[in-house]
């Protein structure tokens, strides 16, 4: 299909129908998802203390992706408004990084999104993205505003490299409009107190936004750094972060988004809101596994061997997921602070149990509060 000539009205119509079906709590959908998350795994030069990637994993291969899944996913790729191309490691460090980007750039109607640690976001890649004419949102997982802390969090020496790359992006962004840069701050007990400085750095570098996440515990050794154990301090830090941004924008006038995670001990009004991702997003990995989002539970569907995408989209996994959500049996969203901010006070929402044995889960969830 000549994807550069996709009728944008089909994308808009799909989004409208999808929103409608979500509002109407439909379990079986006529609309396609509005977003697709293609897990693009690549080599990584960081060893972040909160990393979830396995010791060995296969890297993304565009030809394999196309031969196995392109036909099945084409109705999705041609209708989505966002394509997220992120996985373990750095997609821009893949040998065929440009070719991969070029492939997804064919779907010009969709905004592209990916996360990077920033070291691979070199001028060559920035220019390539800039001239593509595609809209890009890039999440730069920086997590700190200084070299020593960055080294502590990432176990790498790349901070100066990342800073040089961000300097170049700042320059390029003055001339183009299709690039949006968010600085990502995964908050742990190690870096939480750096958030105010981080916001200053992001603002000074012309970032469009700062997105703060609580970090998820995947392994036992990661547990102690969870923000769950410094709740009061975190609430103060989040308040100070907002104040800092107010002060910066007050002086300069330039706006910057600040997306913070829910605070501890606060009661949030949910008014029947459901995790929307079960309706709006599909995530596919290199083995063809389909899940609704990156923190989903153990249930999954596999696209291999299916004859039509709708067999998955309206298959057992998604039907059960949507039905459970509608019936208040939150399923994986039961302990997800993204889907339900009130669960932030439960340690289970800070832990990813996917793929773990009962014994491992028990150990992970065991909480000793000082």
């Amino acid at each position: 299909m000549p994807t550069d000539r996709i009728d944008n009205s089909a994308v808009l119509e799909n989004a409208r129908l999808n929103e409608e079906e979500y509002r109407e709590r439909k379990v079986c959908l006529k609309s396609y998802p509005q977003a697709i998350f293609v897990q693009v795994d690549g080599p990584c030069n960081h060893e972040c203390l909160f990393c979830s990637r396995p010791k060995v994993y296969s890297h993304f291969d565009l030809d394999r992706f196309r031969s196995r899944y392109e036909d099945l996913l084409m109705p999705v790729l041609t209708r989505v408004s966002r394509i997220n191309i992120t996985g373990s490691g750095e997609l821009l460090f893949l040998p065929e990084a440009k070719r991969n980007l070029d492939y997804f750039n064919r779907y010009v109607h969709a905004e592209k999104m990916f996360a990077t640690n920033g070291s691979s976001l070199v001028p060559k890649m920035v220019d390539h993205i800039a001239v593509s004419g595609n809209r890009y949102t890039i999440h730069v997982s920086l997590h700190s505003s200084n070299e020593n802390l960055h080294r502590l969090i990432t176990a790498s020496n790349s901070y100066p490299v990342v800073m040089e790359n961000l300097k170049y992006i700042k320059k390029v962004k003055r001339e183009i409009e299709n690039l949006r840069i968010n600085y990502i701050f995964v908050m742990t007990s190690q870096n939480a107190r750096n958030l105010k400085d981080f916001i200053r750095l992001a603002y000074g570098n012309g970032a469009d936004g700062v997105v703060v996440y609580y970090y998820y515990v995947y392994r036992l050794d990661q547990k102690s750094a969870s923000c769950y154990f410094i709740k009061d301090a975190v609430n103060d830090i989040l308040r100070e972060a907002e104040e800092e941004l107010d002060s910066l924008t007050g002086k300069d006038g330039r706006q910057m988004d600040l997306i913070l995670p829910p605070r501890f001990g606060v009661e949030y009004e949910m008014s029947g809101a459901l995790c929307k991702e079960a309706w709006s997003q599909v995530m596919v990995n290199s083995g063809g596994d389909i899940i609704s989002c990156d923190v989903a539970g153990d249930s999954r569907e596999n696209i291999s061997g299916k004859s039509d995408f709708m067999e998955v989209w309206n298959g057992r996994y998604y039907i059960d997921l949507r039905r459970n959500l509608i019936e208040g049996k939150y399923d994986c969203a039961s302990f997800c602070w993204r889907a339900n901010p009130n669960t932030v006070n439960d340690f289970r929402s800070h832990v990813i149990t996917r793929g773990k044995s009962e014994e491992e889960i028990r150990e992970l969830l065991e909480v000793t509060e000082e």
Binding site: H59, D61, P95, V122, P123, P160
Partner: protein, 544 residues
């Protein structure tokens, strides 16, 4: 299944073995748990004075002797045991050895050790050794190898690992010889791994660059094969045709390694690339594109420019502008295989360029600010004294533009699988060629000593002209000549002459184990005078 990739001695120690880091990167990118072990570098780093020259290529032949290797490994059994334990500790299901003629015996020994230490492990040998069919049957009888890989590991290993993991049929994995009862069975041609752009980056996580002789560079092979078919060259057997990565792919990998190895505390910061390609400019459009990328997007632009060195062929498109672009892109040095200054000998060699073009390119490269190194051979079959004079004239004319020459220390070898080896008559070489170095022409005018003598005259001229002579020998040129002539005359059973040269050598290096072993071997042979025998006994004793 976990896989270990193993490099045995003797091999280079300047950088991590390219075959291992390349294959390891590739296997890991496919999700295969892989670890690399370099016994060669491990032993090199711990070598004693007596065997310090064993890693100098010109004195490395003991490694080709199975008895010596077994004896040596036996004498350092603690080190070998610990190394074997480290490998077995990874609990691998497959041990893959990169095998060449120089590493063959050590690989056989280590394969045996590993098999004893870890029950059920499978062993595979692969590498250039098995281009010689003679090694196939030999490896199955000398070693416990289960499989021999014939071709690119990137193609063969993933299929084999999958089959071993799933219990699939080995017959369906191309490129393998495997044992079936007392027979060996071949599974058919695996084809070449042609998509070099898809190859994952080299992986240095096990073999750290800083643990090798030159800690500031990455050695990269961006193409395989050669666009030419020179008569003396064996590489046509190693790589069919010519395959090259794109400029973009090369630039990606260079950028990746420089970023990954960045350390603000270090000054060098991986500032150098050695292209190991037979020739970097097999496709000039690729060179141009690569240079454009290096100029527009220098890896880590805030650091000093990355420098690179590459082998190049004399290509008419290497004009002034192109050479200037190559220089601007960070190239420090180009190495040309000139080999001769005689137009007639060039034709015999089947090298498709003219001497005048070579002269022009050398001058233009110099004027662009590039260092030029030129390789030369001596006594190519058909080369007359008049032809050799033309080589000397060539250096006299363009020597001022040449930073250094690299005279071949094998002078002119009849390499296995070369066109020349397969057409001895066409080149006037007296058959049979029992030794690739000691061949002579049917008319007797071109012998090993003649070639050595021409090389010496060439070196003398270069030194006189102020052109650096880089022979690649780790001892000295003078000692290398004595060493070579000692071996040559021993091979020809002219023991008195052999003793004469070995004695000269021992005067300078009386503890050299290799020369001492040769002296022990010849001291009771016919033809030695009693004075000479006494001289030899001074070094090895009466009973030695």
């Amino acid at each position: 299944m976990k896989v270990v990739l193993i490099q045995c001695p003797v091999w280079g120690t300047r950088e991590p073995p390219a075959a291992l880091v390349q294959l390891s990167g590739h296997l890991k990118s496919l999700g295969i748990d892989t670890r690399c072990f370099d016994l060669n570098n491990h032993l090199y780093r711990r070598r004693s004075d007596e065997i310090s020259t064993m890693w100098a290529w010109e004195q490395s032949m003991s490694w080709y002797d199975g008895g010596w290797v077994r004896g040596f490994f036996g004498s350092i059994s603690k080190v070998i045991d610990e190394f074997t334990d480290a490998i077995a500790g990874c609990e691998p299901g497959l041990a893959a050895f990169s095998v060449s003629a120089s590493t063959y015996h050590a690989s056989c020994f280590m394969a045996d050790m590993i098999k004893r230490r870890r029950r059920g492990i499978k062993v595979i040998f692969g590498g250039p050794a098995f281009l010689d069919p003679g090694y196939i049957g030999k490896a199955f009888s000398d070693s416990p190898a289960d499989f021999l890989a014939i071709g690119d590991g990137e193609t063969i290993l993933p299929a084999l690992i999958r089959a071993l993991d799933t219990g699939g049929p080995i017959e369906s994995c191309p490129g393998l010889y495997y044992r079936k009862g007392k027979r060996s069975v071949y599974t058919g041609d695996a084809g070449d791994f042609s998509l070099l752009d898809k190859m994952a980056f080299m992986d240095y996580s096990d073999l750290k660059i800083e643990d090798y002789d030159d800690a500031v560079h990455v050695a990269m092979m961006s193409s395989r094969g050669c666009v030419w078919k020179c008569a003396y060259c064996s590489t046509r057997a190693f790589a069919r045709g010519y395959r090259a990565m794109s400029a973009e792919r090369i630039h990606q990998e260079i950028t990746y390694h420089r970023i990954c190895n960045f350390d603000a505390k270090r000054k060098d910061n991986l500032g150098h690339i050695d292209f190991m390609d037979l020739e970097f400019n097999g496709r000039m459009d690729r060179v141009k594109e690569f240079c454009r990328l290096m100029i527009d997007y220098p890896p880590c632009a805030f650091l000093p420019q990355m420098k690179w060195v590459a082998n190049a062929i004399i290509h008419p498109d290497l004009d002034r502008d192109m050479l200037q672009m190559i220089k601007d892109a960070g190239c420090r040095k180009l190495i040309f295989g000139i080999e001769t200054g005689s137009e007639r000998v060039l034709k015999l060699m089947k090298k498709p360029y003219s001497v005048n073009v070579a002269k022009r390119i050398i001058k233009d490269a110099f004027e662009a600010g590039l260092e030029v190194t030129t390789n030369f051979m001596f006594g190519f079959p058909g080369e007359t004294e008049e032809d050799f004079q033309k080589t000397l004239d060539f250096v006299k004319e363009v020597g001022k533009y040449i930073e250094r020459v690299y005279p071949s220390r094998t002078y002119c070898a009849v390499e296995q699988f070369s066109y020349m080896q397969e057409h001895l008559e066409e080149f006037g070489i007296k058959p049979p060629v029992n030794h690739h170095l000691y061949w002579e022409t049917a008319d007797g005018t071109n012998t090993y000593p003649v070639r050595l003598e021409r090389c010496s005259r060439f070196e003398e001229l270069c030194s006189g002209l102020g052109v650096k002579v880089d022979c690649g020998v780790k001892t000295s040129v003078e000692m290398d000549n004595w060493y070579n002539l000692g071996h040559y005359y021993e091979y020809g059973r002219e023991y008195a002459k052999a003793a004469e040269y070995f004695l000269k050598y021992l005067e300078k290096d009386p503890k050299n184990e290799i020369v001492l072993s040769r002296v022990k071997a010849i001291r009771r042979q016919q033809g030695l005078t009693s004075v000479m025998k006494k001289e030899l006994e001074k070094y090895v004793g009466r009973e030695g």
